[in-house]
Symmetry: C2
Subunit: 193 residues, 2 copies
DNA sequence: GTGCGAGGCGAGTGAGTGCTCGCCTTTCAC
DNA sequence: GTGAAAGGCGAGCACTCACTCGCCTCGCAC
């Protein structure tokens, strides 16, 4: 039997609380990491009692998922500014820039992203699917299962260098970013050219 | 004032217990991950009481460090079988094979390695230094700080693909391994040639 | 204005953690 | 043989965390 989720009517105040809680969660996740972050700390950061928090999120995981959803939307928006553009005729460097730069911008603007990205399979898989899609458009003749493999490795590489980029600033941050792009370019050149 | 560590006399039985405990720890870390692994579980896996465990390791972290030390030794031994060999005149592929293959072998033989590798900065740093050293021998003219950057990224890439290699078997495992080598080759070719 | 459900509170619960302590057993140098 | 130190035990301490529950307040449809 299917569990019928009764859609609880929500007041404007409630919607605001949710946003406020997600905001606080992002801050705490960023500061402590997902595992170490405590729900009480999130509630405190939102200046709200634990009970209030649990009125909107049944458990810790559901908070993480809601945040992940939010970030995924942000990614869509950011990459829509150029991803729709042609992927076939342009140099690989441009495609990489159009993928990596907005992603890093989002990660810098939302410090909660990275801890969630390492934790949530769901979030990583969603990103893998995006990359897979772009590869499919650029190199249509490639075998789908091999394409998936490449997309997975590509995202893993991104996730691997990301902490270094976020942990540094200024020149060093730029260096790591350039290095990330160099890796991706070198790796993907083997395939698309 | 320097803390003088008094070297407690250890019986043969004690040495055996230590090995047995590290073995159990590796199993539990592998099954649960470092953070989720509990000391009581390690003690139980070693068929020993928690009190006994704490006779040999003052805390959880010290267990992890002892294990890391052990793995580092294993890495040294495995890579000594060919690392001493020339790094200059040979193709990059050979160098990569001689680095990656023993490392993966060890990871497969010691399932406790990976969780520790993601957790322990100490272990990762030690590996970075090895890679740095090899790059220095192969490309002596490179700037040391840039070399360190490259070594760090290289190790991060390895750490990123490793879970995929360990999580799969057979054909898929081979594919991921090949892909890892392809990434490294493509990335490092830019530098050494 | 009244009633009802959404919003809010925060001390408290219970499960689970790393780790301890008092006490017993084994080992071994002398 | 004997005594001191090493090895061993396991109930349980102190603490943390996700989550709850009873009670109160606020917003709004009627």
């Amino acid at each position: 039997m299917v569990e019928t989720v009764k859609p609880r009517r929500r007041q404007a105040r409630g919607e605001r609380r949710i946003a406020q809680l997600l905001d606080a969660a992002a801050k705490v996740f960023a500061a402590e990491g997902y595992v170490a972050a405590t729900m009480n700390a999130v509630a405190a950061a939102a200046e709200v009692s634990p009970g209030t928090l649990y009125q909107f999120f049944p458990n810790k995981e559901s908070m993480a998922e809601a945040l992940a959803e939010q970030y995924l939307d942000a990614l869509s928006v950011a990459q829509a500014r150029g991803e729709g553009a042609e992927v076939l005729g342009v140099p690989l460097d441009d495609v990489i820039n159009r993928m990596v730069d907005p992603a890093i911008e989002i990660c810098l603007a939302n410090p909660g992203f990275e801890p969630l990205f390492s934790w949530s399979d769901r979030l990583r898989t969603a990103v893998v699917e995006r990359v897979d899609d772009i590869i499919a458009r650029r190199v249509p003749e490639i075998d789908p299962s091999r394409r998936r493999l490449i997309a997975t490795v590509t995202v893993r590489i991104f996730a691997a260098v990301l902490p270094q980029i976020l942990a540094t600033t200024g020149r060093e941050q730029l260096e790591y970013t350039r290095e990330l792009k160099r890796v991706l370019r070198a790796y993907l050149l083997d395939i698309s050219d």
